[in-house]
């Protein structure tokens, strides 16, 4: 069975609606100008070396409005992209990596099963960045999380609190965040997540995480006098 045949039972109206959401994004017209099919983007792409993945096909499918190929990519390809933007070598000025960013957002907004699967195991990172304002923290360096990094991770983990105090910059004496972030700063970040609909996006792919984040944010926002209603 070909990949597109796998999605033959998905109504064309669904594929069209999702494609239209991608095309309606304000970044879309800045990311696609046509395709020479020269393959320079593929030659530069790290993911193309490792996966059955092609940034050229992304530009082609979106440019031709090939709904079958687009839907297949939306489910099977986009999460393989490294988002390094090596594909910006395109002589037409296309940005296949940027198209993928938009496609991922549409996949999240629509709660696609493939998007949920791609983000399995990633929830703790979304929680960290959205609730603390820093993406990774020293205490994430745990041997069971990074077994392939060797015993050095265990050494850091065992000495973490002491080693963080042995850092001259005052802002780095932290273990649960990358640096000290003021409460007022954090409140402002929470307000941004609320006002731009990001929390609604989380709800589509992880209701439990959405509930936890909402609880954490609600308290600080209400203390600061902001309504989250």
């Amino acid at each position: 069975m070909t990949l597109q045949a796998r999605y033959a039972d998905v109504p064309v109206e669904t594929k069209q609606r999702l494609f239209d959401e991608v095309r309606a994004d304000i970044r879309f017209k800045d990311y696609l100008f046509g395709c020479y099919e020269c393959g320079i983007c593929v030659a530069a792409c790290p993911s193309a070396r490792f996966y059955d993945f092609s940034p050229r096909k992304i530009a082609q499918a979106t440019g031709r409005e090939d709904l079958g190929m687009f839907y297949e990519q939306l489910n099977d390809d986009i999460w393989n992209c490294s988002q390094c933007f090596s594909c910006l070598r395109c002589p037409r000025g296309n940005n296949p990596g940027g198209l993928i960013t938009i496609m991922r957002e549409v996949a999240i907004n629509n709660g696609l099963t493939s998007a949920r699967q791609a983000l399995e195991g990633y929830g703790r990172v979304v929680y960290k960045i959205m609730s603390t304002g820093t993406q990774v923290s020293p205490d994430m360096l745990q041997p069971n999380a990074f077994p392939d990094w060797g015993p050095h991770v265990a050494e850091i983990s065992e000495n973490l609190e002491l080693w963080r105090r042995a850092l001259p910059p005052e802002t780095l004496h932290t273990t649960t965040t990358a640096w000290y972030v003021d409460d007022k700063t954090l409140t402002e970040l929470y307000l941004i997540w609320h006002m731009t609909g990001v929390l609604d996006m989380i709800k589509e792919v992880d209701e439990g995480l959405h509930m936890i984040l909402n609880d954490v944010m609600e308290e600080l926002l209400e203390e600061a006098g902001y309504s989250t209603a």
Binding site: D30, Q83, L167, L172
Partner: protein, 397 residues
């Protein structure tokens, strides 16, 4: 017979003739200033003194020497803290005034590129909140992370191009009570290191003439919004970004070339966290092993968070597959600091790095055993409660 190309000479001549008011290509700053003239936002000027450096297509970019607001990096501060510490140490070595703020969040672009659980409005609002905070402090933003730098340039393009996005983000900034500010230049710390390289060279205390270096240029530095990354006709004929490589040369070490220099490190944003089979394979097979075979460097230097992490941490597991690995990795800021006599543990914090770096230190003329003993004494004082934290004065003792 050699092809009679004079492109390098022509570029050198153009560099000398052009000034900051004569950009050779479209300059987004013109639109940034137009929007200021229309009252849409404030443009924060690069403070004096600044250094003029050449961008990819020849525009002169202003790099502030001091009065800088340090937009920190999640991965640097969280997992390789000697990176950020070395940047501050270099500022202190030049006696420069800088601000290490707590009113700063991540740019959140690592998550944006990894999980897409964000959107264009949120990303622009996070950027403009941070720019507003820098403006309020009176210091000019200098961005430590390559991804933050590249992403903020994307955000600048989007805000300039789309009035409705500006309106949305302005409303958010109004609600936060933050001024709506765009910096005159978006500056990466490695551009500052490049601009200051001769100052560092003057303060160098180690002979690095036997040290061979391979350079990994960070993707989000030189591939995302390419036109205001730094290029120099004297470095690879202006065909690759000059940051890092020019610093290595100025410090008296040797830049060694390798064929996969354009390849990414394998970080992948989501891959480094949840799909590291890709990251490990790419980092070791396409980068470290190629460097070993073609250049056999003593150290890999790069200028971004994810690149240091990926290239350093990926080497451990690759040893099991007989891949040619075993090259230490650090930032050019740490390397420059070491060259100027910074402590390898108190300042450069090399004990957070994974791949064996001690042979490099020995080759550089650093007595790492004695320096580690000193650092262990520091730790003992902290452990016993004689001190709560290591200070800058301790670092330079």
């Amino acid at each position: 017979m050699p092809i009679p190309l004079n492109v390098i000479e022509a570029r050198r001549a153009q560099r000398d003739e052009r000034g900051p008011t004569a950009p050779p290509t479209e300059d987004i700053r013109e639109k940034v200033f137009e929007l200021e003239a229309k009252g849409e936002w404030i443009v924060q000027r690069v403070p004096e003194p600044w250094v003029g450096v050449t961008t990819k297509y020849g525009r002169i970019k202003k790099i502030p020497a001091e009065h800088t607001w340090h937009h920190k990096s999640c991965g640097q501060c969280g997992h390789i803290p000697g990176y950020s510490t070395a940047i501050y140490w270099l500022n202190r070595a030049l006696d420069f005034d800088y601000n290490d703020p707590k009113d700063q969040t991540s740019c959140t672009a690592w998550n944006y590129y990894a999980s897409a659980t964000s959107n264009v409005g949120a990303q622009a609002a996070v950027a403009m909140r941070n720019f507003g905070a820098a403006y309020e402090s009176g210091y000019f933003p200098t961005i430590h992370c390559g991804t933050s730098y590249g992403h903020y340039k994307e955000v600048r393009e989007e805000l300039v191009a789309h009035a409705e996005l500006r309106d949305e983000v302005r409303r958010i900034c109004d609600k936060l009570g933050k001024p709506f500010v765009m910096p005159e230049e978006i500056v990466h710390y490695s551009e500052w290191v490049y601009a200051m390289r001769h100052e560092f060279a003057q303060r160098r205390v180690l002979d690095l003439s036997s040290i061979d270096v391979t350079v990994h240029p960070a993707c989000h530095y030189h591939k995302l919004v390419v036109e205001d990354a730094i290029y120099d006709p004297d470095v690879y004929g202006g065909q690759r970004t000059a940051v890092v490589s020019a610093v290595v040369t100025a410090l008296g070490a040797n830049v060694k070339d390798y064929s996969t220099w354009f390849d990414c490190c394998g970080f992948g944003f989501r891959h480094i966290l949840v799909q590291r089979d890709f990251t490990r394979s790419f980092a070791t097979l396409r980068k470290i092993e190629v460097m070993r075979e073609e250049a056999n460097p003593d150290v890999v230097l790069t200028h971004d968070t994810g690149c240091v992490t990926t290239l350093d941490q990926s080497q451990f597991a690759a040893r099991a597959h007989d891949v040619k690995v075993g090259v230490p990795v650090m930032s050019e800021a740490q390397f420059a600091a070491l060259a100027m006599g910074a402590h390898p543990y108190r300042v450069c914090q090399l004990h957070w790095h994974n791949t064996e770096y001690r042979p490099l230190l020995e080759k550089m003329g650093i007595d790492w055993r004695e320096r580690w003993r000193e650092f262990e004494d520091d730790l003992e004082r902290l452990r016993k409660g004689d001190k709560q934290f290591l200070t800058w004065e301790d670092a330079d003792a």
